[in-house]
């Protein structure tokens, strides 16, 4: 798994990359009440705001971590957004992206570096 400074995690599964937010981010956001998912088929650019997570506190943007095409979104979050709090790196995944340039992932942190990053 790779981690971004925006507190997203990326996991390669075959030819797609699964993306979610880290446990640390989920804790900071508080109880999540709504996830505004992108449409599948959307072409996205790295650092583009593509998802909005609404918690009891505020709305937060989730950025596309890499260039590519959104090939699947986690529709289960529409009815059960709290899954992102309960199981952020499992059932709380948010979208799957087909990378147009997988080397963009190389700069991201591994788990040890991320743990150090969040202190």
């Amino acid at each position: 798994m790779k981690f971004t400074e925006e507190h997203e995690w990326l996991r390669v599964e075959g030819d797609v990359v699964v993306v979610g937010i880290t446990e640390h981010a989920a804790e900071q956001l508080g109880d999540i009440v709504f996830v505004d998912l992108p449409d599948t088929g959307t072409e996205v650019t790295k650092d583009e705001e593509i998802v909005v997570i609404e918690s009891v506190k505020a709305a937060s943007d989730i950025l596309a971590p890499i260039d590519g095409e959104i090939v699947e979104v986690n529709g289960a979050l529409e009815d059960a957004p709290s899954t992102v709090n309960e199981d952020p790196i499992g059932g709380g995944w948010i979208f799957k992206i087909k990378a147009s340039d997988a080397s963009q992932m190389d700069d991201y942190m591994d788990e040890a570096a991320y743990k150090e990053f969040i202190g």
């Binding site: 508080g30 109880d31 009440v33 709504f34 505004d36 909005v52 609404e54 009891v56 506190k57 709305a59 529409e78 957004p81």
Partner: protein, 374 residues
Amino acid sequence: MSELRQTPLNALHKELGGKMVPFAGYEMPVQYGLGVMKEHQHTRASAGLFDVSHMGQVIVRHADGYAGAAKAMESLVPVSLLALGEKRQRYGFFTNEEGGILDDLMLANRVDHLFVVVNAACKEADIAHMRAGLEGCEIEEIEGRALLALQGPASEGVLEPIAPGCDAMRFMDVGIFASDYGELWISRSGYTGEDGYEISVPDEHAEAFARALLAHDAVEPIGLGARDSLRLEGGLCLYGNDIDTTTSPVEASLNWAIQKVRRRGGDREGGFPGAARILDELENGASRARVGLRPESRAPMREGTHLYKEAEGGDPVGSITSGAFGPTIEGPMSMGYVSSELAAEGTKLFGEVRGKRQPVTVAAMPFTSANFKR
């Protein structure tokens, strides 16, 4: 950054895991370990303890006792205070010459004086306003007393052993009770839409008193986050968001707080700042109204969201002043102002969220049914 003030419960908040944030010049807990959602639900199901010591407590005295203080105060608020019974409390607001709202407050008849509780952010201005405007009155800002709110259906059972007799109080009764924690000034009220109490306790007993309440399994400490979602579900205004100097009481749909005796044709008609506008709006209506709003999707529509009549085009017909997710109603809720002709319950409007217009319906408030002990 200027130094934040602390309440007498500051150390206890930190010990309990409170996440502290600046609020109205004070360091206050926004949430504890349970988190906003569970704290909210616990308050409605059982009981929640809130530190509201940042609010201002003021005693207004007059040579003629309560009646003298009440008569003077009627020159600053459009509320009937002379008719308020002994040991009874009433909601009201200071108005300005333009008919806007300077602050909202609680006013209590404590037999030989008038007791007032005002918002933290406004308290200095309110006290100056009272000193300048209340003829023949002595204004005492109470120092050295914390203010706690115990809210939720289990509150009565928790407080009764500490303050025997408080179980007989009805909604908006006030009383002074001797206790192991010094003299408690208790009102059966709050700002969550639940039954409960607000309790003023001497600073030196505040922490022990809070610990005694928290010792009950029924009671959890609750932060400002859940206080906000609870009051919004209860349809209650937050000063600075939903009401301010630019909103009149009639626009704010607070007509119920202005008794007939202060209205046109009443025995004590007018005589408060902004009366010309407010009395006119009471008779003829205002151009806009504060309403409840329920978004159709799960996405909350927050403060500042513009409202439109149509899915596309046109100018805004209003905007949202408070919006959040309601844990009890399990959905988003907002309040805001719309043109009066669009204020009827069931009116379909659109709120623009992140550039997309989303359907929203004008709805009755409170969003949850209030559980006061009448």
